[in-house]
Amino acid sequence: MRIFKIPIITILAVCFTLNAQQTPAKKQMKTIAISGATAHLGNGSLIKNSLVVFDNGTIRYVGKMDASKLNSEIEIIDAKGKHVYPGFIIPNSTLGLIEIDAVRASDDDEEIGTWNPHIRSIIAYNTESKVVETMRPNGVLMAQISPRGGRISGTSSVVQLDAWNWEDAVVKIDDGIHMNWPNTFSRGRWWMGEEPGLNINKKYADELQELNVYFNNAKVHNFKASPGLNLPFEAMKGVFLGHQTLFIHVDDEKGIIDAINFTKQHKIEKVVLVGAYEAYKQTELIKENDVSVLLRRVHSRPNKSDEDYDLPFKLAKKLVDAGVTVALEASGDMERMNSRNLPFYAGTTVAYGLDKEQALQLITLNAAKILGIDAQYGSLETGKSATLFISQGDALDMRTNQLVHAFIDGRNISLESHQTKLWKRYTEKYEGQ
């Protein structure tokens, strides 16, 4: 149960001195080989009895176990019976932007105003967040940190989750702009005498028009040498040049069609739909336009009573089967603490139709592709970053998701957290009794 929803200004001074986060790991000094594990590459394939060798943060070999690749200089981790995975990636996240929902002083995810492309999440990203460190023991090693609110929320960046400061954490800075598509329905404000429930949004066309005007003006400003400073418009430039991705948060079918047409009209190259609950109804259009999808939290309920009870569980399967590039996101209620359940969201899609390696792609290589970091991250491939972990068992199933080692860019990171410390402290207390 969460907090009461009526927000107030809290003057509570929050003291976070109890336990600082784990010390970030040092640079990889020695070549490391993981031998004998089942390697899940993240690209859909799997190697049993594998060997993964990496040095200086980069993977040098991934393949069948091959003793000739080993020598006495190499630190060998015997991982027989265990599983090795690329680090999981959580896109569209507010990790590090809010520490405690109910403590307003710790909330930094949403700026006021409607048009905020210039608002950059990265500078508020708190590497010392106690929530962030709880991601790693479950295999979640990277995140896209995205601002919320407004029509255009701001600019996101991609980080790795073991860093001294935000500059240290950056994997890809200012990777995309996040935009909330107008809703076709709006909630009636009963206290203002409106019909309660969801009513047709009569302002939809106006809101769409505003978007068009905004994008047109942003283009004119950036490419027709408009005089004067305009921070928001200038922040949009990368989207028009195809350097940055436009992440459009939209769920309903009509909104999806309108959004895709909008991006065509404005010649926006890189487009990703976020949430995209009804994307399964428009897979052809999505594919034709080379749009990808960050699919809303798997562990959610259907939007309507009439819908299949398992619709949110099987949406990924529908999109994958249709050939759409899809990754999982987790925004919504309690999104930060629940982001460590990302592997289990993927696991649930297996119960509802995908195979395990396909499901793994949704939180590894597909996510990396969508965030534009797949040259370096997202799969176990030679030449890519050694951002990976070893689990005792199947990492998509909570019973067997037990990490023994995790590496980010080859750095052997801590799997401890404030929570494991408390666990150990009190376990010791009772063992002593």
Binding site: K5, I8, V14, A102, E253, S305, F344
Partner: protein
């Protein structure tokens, strides 16, 4: 402003005395009217079931003197021949706010108000039995006219504000007379509801269950006040006791609230007359079982505009079905012998009333029953034999119509109230519609008149040329304006005729453009009525009405599933008993119980389910749920022990079905965490399709929710005025309440007279170990505190729920003997959960505390098997132990482990068949069974999906057809049910 379509004869009825005899008169001589009026040549409905053909109604001074086919008429009688038209008694509306403005909402202050704003009245401002409709009454001529036009002559009006609203007044809608005659009774009924007064900001009650509790307490207090010597005055209770002899009208407003209201009434021997919601047909047997009479609205929904398929997709089957089925409600109520009257309540405009009733009749309701529901039934409910009929001695309140009241082409000519006459349309007036021919200047003209009076349409032709023409009817004159045939030099002609009912033709004068005046007769050649033919066709169409399902929305069943004898063969059986997990084992289910467990079991009657490769477990028990409830928090006071979730169980919540799909069979619906002492729980089985009453456990162990920490301190919302604001205050509040409860209980047990106080009764149950506490808790200090308070009063806390810092005081909890029901891995949503760790369950379990994992969330509850598996991941609980955390352990905490929670012979057959290891993320429930009845079956689910689609398609087609016919539609809207958590307040303001 609408056009007034009727004529008003102000002082036409000279025999109506407007002033009382004893009033002095200074503007003339005193007159006395003593003539009779006879309305003859009439079909008189004395009652809907007693009809006189070709009779005469004799009235005097606004009272029916006599009626009959052949009655003697005194000499001083004015006779009105109505030429075969019909006379109906005026209708009665029992639920009206006629002439009484709805009070204005008081502007709200910055901080919630907990105390009353009045002195010398009841402690709660929403109890207003001292209100009297007449003090706020002002006769509203405009509304009265529109009511009269729909057939209503008498309304029972009241101040529609507050939970107890005081007494209503019975008003005759005489627009010509004075209040002296209009007010038939100033104390006609007492009105009650579950909605708060807008005149006060007093917080309590914030929920429907709080309103029910408040009403119950009022009955107790009123009784005590009556019996005891008292030193203070309570004007509310005085009025309430005074009003107890009146008819009690309860504005429930919906099927579910009707049952709630009836339960309250029954407890105190009061049978309410209940204002329904029009949805009674959905579970008609529960409505019938109330034995109450109802007041039923006819505000049937308009079809939705589903032309835009994107929007139509948002519409729920449930809403579409409402449109389709609601017009059958009156018929179904009648078929089930539920007595009821109709009301105009809920209509956007009174003028829609007749059409809605007609719609119900087209859906199979009998027109005679409709008349009864408007006349004799409401009269009887008010115990008033002078209204609703035209028997000798009754009020002369009646309408004169051209035929059957609810027929499409029936006109209402006149409405008489207490002998005072309002004319809408002269009954002897000729029907203008038809075709006419005439000659002017040697030219032949043909004129067609169609449409309704006041809104006639014309078509004028000469040869084949269309000429412009307009018509205006002014009382018994008709005026035409038309152009000549000459297209070059168009001239205007005017024709005026006085209507003469003795001839079909129109004779009058025509004014030529040059000033010439000539006589002209338009000869009627035919009187066919085009619009009428159309309507007849429409009525002939059969109405397609979808069958009611249980529940009456998505995933409901037409027939409720029945218990079966089932033999599961060759399953992996998680017994939760000392036998552990049994491989290749059979389980036999019979009469709702588990009867045999073993290998190679046989049963001839049983349905065999091959469970090879599958896992059979007992059903999941969720200790902490907020689904299936209409309200969760009564936040209006710091203690709300008097409320009970059992009062507000919502059996139609689709989350029940979704929980079944996740293997959940039993849940405790807990009150929320808005106050240190919350409300009582409901313990239910998820028997999807059954009524709320049938979901409840029989003889359930009693529970109450307590809460600690930020929520009860109201830390995260804008209230600073309610005690307690600190954890320190919370302790003292408990000590205060339990001390008072102890004293109350002692007094009660001593045999002394005492004021029954439900809150104290409930707290005394805790002290007497008859009721168990499940307490919302987070940090160790307060957990420890509550155990100490309980120990001081010599009882134990049963369960700490949430208990996220339980791991810090696990040893103390074990010593106290309290169980834990926690989240698997939630934290960081507020300050007090900063030290919450996912290892909590495993630590508590290892220390020996009975530990459960709960949901508190409608989404998580359908994956509790996954949440249990996290106890394996975090802290290394064994798989069997982890599984018990969502089955046997919560059953123990709820004191129902003798019935559910494990697979054991003799226990309830609450079982789940999984396709996989139940703790695996890959597991799906294939069948969920409660007491031997299959409530979820993954294959049947596929069929239900198809039938939802089919029904949607049928209804969308029907609505498109309505739109195509030109029917008015309403925009698509989506009713959103609120997701309930501990901290959820009622969605709708009550």
């Amino acid at each position: 402003m609408k056009k007034i379509k009727f004529l008003l004869f102000g002082l036409f009825c000279s025999f109506v005395a407007h002033t009382q005899d004893y009033f002095p008169k200074n503007d003339g001589v005193k007159t006395k009217a003593s003539n009779y009026t006879a309305i003859s040549n009439a079909k008189i409905f004395i009652t809907p079931n007693s009809v006189i053909e070709n009779g005469t109604l004799l009235i005097k001074d606004g009272i029916v003197v006599k009626s009959g086919a052949d009655i003697e008429i005194p000499e001083n009688t004015e006779v009105i021949d109505i030429k075969g038209n019909s006379i109906y008694p005026s209708f009665i509306d029992l639920y009206s706010t006629f002439g009484v403005d709805k009070p204005k909402r008081e502007s709200s202050g910055n901080s919630p108000q907990y105390g009353p704003s009045r002195e010398g009245f009841y402690w709660n401002d929403h109890i207003r039995p001292e209100q009297n409709a007449l003090t706020a009454f002002k006769f509203d001529k405009k509304t009265a006219k529109s009511m009269l036009e729909q057939g209503f002559g008498v309304v029972n009006t009241h101040i529609e504000d507050g939970i107890v609203r005081g007494n209503g007044a019975l008003i005759a809608l005489d627009i010509n007379g004075s209040d002296a005659k209009r007010i038939l009774s100033g104390r006609s009924a007492q009105y009650i509801s579950f909605s708060k007064s807008v005149k006060s900001q007093q917080s309590y009650p914030t929920s429907i269950m709080g309103a029910m509790a408040l009403l119950r307490q009022l009955y107790q207090d009123a009784d005590w006040y009556k019996k005891e010597n008292r030193t203070t005055i309570d004007r509310s209770i005085d009025a309430f006791n005074n009003n107890s002899d009146l008819v009690q009208i309860m504005a429930a407003g919906s099927r579910v609230n009707a049952l709630r209201a009836d339960a309250v009434g029954d407890q105190f021997g009061v049978q309410y007359i209940i204002l329904g919601g029009g949805d009674e047909y959905e579970r008609i047997s529960t409505i019938k079982n109330t034995n109450a009479a109802f007041i039923i609205p006819v505000n049937f929904p308009k079809p939705y505009d589903v032309e835009n398929s994107f929007l139509a997709n948002k519409l729920e089957l449930e809403s579409m079905k409402e449109w389709n089925q609601r017009p059958t409600n009156p018929k179904i109520l009648n078929d089930n012998d539920v007595p009821f009257a109709l009301t105009t309540h809920g209509l956007k405009s009174v003028s829609e009333f007749k059409n809605h009733v007609k719609n119900a009749i087209e859906h199979g309701w009998s027109a005679r029953k409709a008349l009864e529901a408007l006349t004799t039934v409401p009269a009887q409910l008010l115990n008033n034999n002078k209204i609703g009929n035209l028997k000798n001695g009754s009020y002369a309140n009646f309408t004169i119509t051209s035929g059957e009241f609810f027929d499409s082409d029936t006109s209402i000519f006149e409405h008489w109230i207490r002998g005072s006459r309002t004319i809408f349309k002269e009954f002897n007036q000729k029907d203008l519609n038809g075709s006419y021919t005439f000659n002017l200047d040697k030219q032949k003209y043909k004129l067609d008149i169609s449409g309704k009076r006041g809104n006639h349409k014309t078509k004028l032709k000469s040869d084949s040329l269309n000429l412009s023409c307009s018509i205006k009817q002014n009382q018994d004159w008709v005026h035409l304006l038309f152009t000549t045939k000459d297209t070059v030099n168009q001239q205007f002609m005017r024709f005026s005729a006085k209507l003469d009912s003795n001839t079909p033709d129109l004779s009058g004068t025509v004014n030529f453009f040059d000033g010439t005046i000539k006589k002209l007769t338009l000869i009627k050649s035919s009187s066919k009525n085009i619009t009428k033919a159309k309507k007849d066709k429409k009525e002939a169409e059969a109405k397609t009405v979808l069958a009611v399902s249980y529940p009456n929305g998505a995933y409901g069943s037409l027939q409720l599933p029945e218990p079966e004898t089932i033999l599961f063969q060759n399953a992996t059986v998680w017994t939760n008993e000392s036998e552990g997990i049994l491989q290749n084992t059979d389980v036999l289910v019979k009469d709702g119980k588990i009867v045999e467990i073993g290998r190679n079991l046989k049963s001839r009657k049983a349905r065999i389910i091959d469970a090879t490769g599958k896992h059979l477990t007992s059903g999941i028990v969720d200790e902490h749920s907020h689904i299936a409830a209409a309200s969760i928090n009564e936040a209006g006071q710091n203690s709300s022990a008097e409320v009970s979730i059992e009062d507000v169980v919502d059996a139609d919540d689709v989350n029940i079905y979704r929980n079944l799909s996740g293997g959940v069979t039993t849940i405790q619906i807990l009150h929320g965490s808005a106050n240190p002492i919350g409300g009582r729980s409901a313990l239910i089985k998820l028997k999807w399709g059954e009524s709320a009453q049938n979901l409840l456990y029989k003889n359930a162990p009693k529970f109450i929710k307590f809460a600690l920490g930020e929520n009860v301190k109201q830390s995260n919302w804008g209230s600073y005025s309610r005690f307690p604001q600190t954890r320190m205050g919370v302790e003292q509040m408990y000590i205060d309440y339990f001390s008072r409860a102890k004293a109350y209980d002692l007094k009660k047990k001593s045999g002394q007279a005492f004021r029954v106080d439900t809150e104290m009764e409930v707290l005394a149950e805790i002290l007497n170990k008859e009721r168990f506490i499940s307490c919302h808790s987070y940090v160790q200090s307060e957990i420890n505190m509550l155990m100490k308070v309980a120990e001081k009063f010599d009882f134990n806390i049963n369960t700490f729920t949430h208990i996220l810092e339980g791991y810090k005081v696990a040893d103390k909890m074990k010593t106290h003997g309290v169980g834990a029901s926690t989240f698997s891995d939630w934290w960081a949503y507020k300050y007090e959960v900063n030290d919450a760790i996912p290892y909590n369950a495993a630590i508590l379990n290892a220390v020996g505390v009975v530990t459960a994992i709960n949901s508190d969330d409608a989404e998580m509850s359908r994956r509790l098997n996954q949440e249990a598996a996290k106890a394996v991941k975090y802290g290394g609980a064994s798989e069997e132990d982890a599984w018990k955390m969502v089955t046997l352990n919560p059953a123990k905490l709820l004191h129902i482990d003798d019935k559910v929670g494990s697979i054991k012979i003799g226990k309830d057959a609450d079982l789940v068949l999984w396709n996989e290891h139940p703790l695996s993320v890959y597991a799906k429930a294939e069948q969920t069974i409660i007491e031997g009845t299959v409530y979820f079956d993954i294959e049947r689910d596929q069929q239900l999906r198809k039938s939802i689609q089919k029904e949607r398609n049928i209804l969308i087609q029907m609505m498109l057809k309505e739109k195509n016919k030109g029917m008015k539609t309403q925009a698509v809207k989506v009713e959103t049910k609120q997701d309930m958590h501990c901290d959820t307040l009622d969605h709708d303001q009550i």
